[in-house]
Structure formats: C-alpha cells, structure tokens
Symmetry: C2
Subunit: 116 residues, 2 copies
C-alpha cells in the first residue's frame, strides 16, 4: 500500500493545511523555515548551523536568523558544543515537539478529508 496522490489531491492537501496554518497560525513560517524546523525534528542529531546550511543549500546567516526567530518562539534552542566550542548544537524543545506533532496531525486530517 503505497502513498498515491493525484495532482488535484496533492494540491488540495497542501492548500488545506496552508489555509488552516495561516488562519490560526502564530508562526506563518516560510518554506525555508519549515524545512529547517522539520529537518531538526525528523533527522538524527547533532544539528549545527553549518550542517543545516549545507543541507538546505543556503548561507549561514539564513540559518542563524531562522534560529533567532524560532528560538524566540521556543521551537528550538541553541547550545554551545562543549567538545568544540565553535559549534552550536541545535536542540529540540518541548514546545517545538508539540508544534511538529500537531502539524503532522493536521496533514493527516486533511489527507483524510480528500475527495477520492
């Protein structure tokens, strides 16, 4: 049983989630920010500024700024790496985990309402 989507379904799914997120969302994250957040929460640590910048093919200030805003929203946190003080390790937070979980639920709910 693989995940099959027709074009109309895929776009409708995305629209539904974007609509709900835009309506009540505190965040209004961009594609970049969303990619950063989900990468932190879905891929294995450790996550560093450099690593995320390479992963996303963007410059380091982009990551720094995204971490600033997401940090203010308590979605992620930063800690200096004790083993190499140049590094900053990006850690997950309880709030961030809840946000991501709720986001996943929203996608699933939208998918379930798609016309067949």
């Amino acid at each position: 049983m693989s995940v099959h989507l027709r074009p109309g379904q895929a776009l409708k799914l995305w629209q539904g989630v974007a609509l709900k997120e835009a309506e009540e969302g505190k965040a209004d994250l961009s594609f970049r920010q969303t990619a950063i957040l989900l990468t932190i929460y879905l891929e294995a640590p450790p996550h560093t500024v450099r690593g995320l910048a390479d992963r996303l093919n963007v410059t380091k200030p982009v990551i720094t700024r995204a971490l600033d805003t997401m940090g203010a929203l308590k979605l992620v946190s930063r800690h200096r790496d004790p083993r190499d003080l140049r590094n900053v390790l990006i850690k997950r937070t309880l709030e961030g985990a809840l946000y991501v979980e709720r986001f996943g639920d929203r996608i699933i709910a939208e998918a379930g309402e798609l016309p067949l």
Copy 2:
C-alpha cells in the same frame, strides 16, 4: 482507496517538499502566501481581495501586499472588475499555472518516495 498517511510519513512528505522548494525555490513563500496562491488556482473564480481576506481570516492589506509580491513574480495578475469598479479580480497567469503544476508534481514525487 483513501489517502492514508501515518504521522512520520506526513511530516517526511512535508519536509521533502519544503527542502526542495527551499533549495531551488525563487519564491520561499510563507504559509499565507501559499494559501492565497493555491486558493486562487484551485477554487472557482472570481477572486477578490475581500473574498480572499475572508477566506483566510486575515486583513485586506495582507492580501494586497501578497498580491503585490506575487504579481511581481508574475504568479497572479490583477484586473479591475468592469461591473463594479471597486472590485479587483485576481486572475491566474501562465507562469502561475506552471508554478502550481510543478509544485503538485513535486508533492506527488515526494509521496511516491515515502517509506511504507
């Protein structure tokens, strides 16, 4: 055959699309902008500023500004309604249609690569 997603799959799907869009995307649209764009392209016209503002539960200047930037990207166009000159009708463009179509394809491609 309904569209079923498990939490991990849903989030991985979103991450994959967001990653690709962030990597090579010219736009880096926010949730709001994405919702506006997809609503214009998926729902039946006519679309007006007021209508979109109500649909998204945001203020009108938000729509005006989004149309400014998306218009600059040629993703949508604006035309005065000849039957009521107060209204602005938002129309689809060729570029926008191609963008949305390509976006749908990207979602489908990501969905197809999801682990089962």
